[in-house]
Assembly symmetry: C2
Homo-oligomer: 188 residues x 2
């Protein structure tokens, strides 16, 4: 009995979605170290053989699940660098204080210190997260809002560094007053 | 046969030192998740019973070993906030790029997201690391070098955040030019 290709494809997609959803759930609950392929298989009901057919390694599965974190940020265009930075940093502060990736990202940062594949993935995630910041700074340079000689990655570190610092190291809040203080320091 | 108390004390100290040294070695090699009391016992030659007599839990042992990280920083007194900040940040940049704790600290940050005891320890470590920064900022306020109304923890986040950002997230270098750029932004 042959099964139509489309049906097989849908079945495969459903299996993959189940595996990714369960991996993501474990990731959010316990960080990278807490993700077990055995457990993913047991809870999703998808065999390990099938899992390893789609993802050649645990790292590959983790990378796929991690890429769902944080969504795809877009560069705002409010008409000024201050306005753009305020929009991005308000969103970042909110995400850091409420979203799942706030507690998952440190496990990726930690794993990236020792695992080459996860280090490559972290670099890609970081690039995606920072892209809108780079875009608004480049635009401000082009418009003459800040000196063209200022290094974009300096400004990114000055804008974003204090927020990461507060969320993961100092464990302090990030209100509108703090957002404005950081913007003043970084782009005055 | 009775053994003089002093001899017993020395023996205990030697055993504890062996356990701490091996815990520290595993910590530096594999991060917090890689420390196993079984392995510490096997390699140090100190029984698990003895280990648990001195440290009631794995967390207690980890906390003791982690407290050796980074040393005790001292607030410099160069005569100006800029000079003091440059001294502290040069040291920090060097440590971040060369010392063991650069690769260990993310595992503490990660564990602190889920483990209450380690979260308390991370808060204490952070306080120790930041104390000299707070000291130079408070002194500068007292001398009128910066407005007394500026929040000390804002300035700490602006000074230190960009360095943590580069070491653990952007994976970028921190040279003298970057140090001066951060100081200019934070305390201008």
């Amino acid at each position: 009995m042959s099964v139509p290709t489309q049906t097989v494809d849908k079945r495969v997609e459903r299996s993959k979605a189940k595996v990714l959803a369960e991996t993501y759930r474990q990731l959010v609950q316990s960080g990278i170290a807490g993700v077990s392929v055995d457990e993913v298989s047991r809870i999703s009901g998808i065999s390990k053989t099938t899992i390893y057919r789609h993802w050649p390694s645990r790292s590959a599965l983790l990378i796929d699940a991690c890429s769902r974190l944080g969504g795809t940020p877009v560069a705002p265009d409010t008409g000024s660098l201050r306005g753009d930075a305020r929009a991005l940093l308000s969103h970042l502060a909110h995400q850091l204080q409420t979203a799942n990736w706030g507690s998952v990202y440190p496990s990726i940062i930690d794993a990236a210190e020792r695992d080459g594949e996860l280090s490559t993935m972290q670099a890609a995630l970081h690039k995606t997260f920072m892209a809108p910041f780079e875009a608004i700074i480049e635009r401000a340079k082009a418009k003459g809002e800040i000196p063209p000689g200022r290094l974009t990655n300096d400004v990114v570190a000055l804008l974003v560094g204090p927020f990461f610092f507060r969320r993961w190291f100092a464990k302090e809040g990030m209100d509108d007053r703090f957002i404005d203080a950081v913007i003043e320091a970084a782009i005055r």
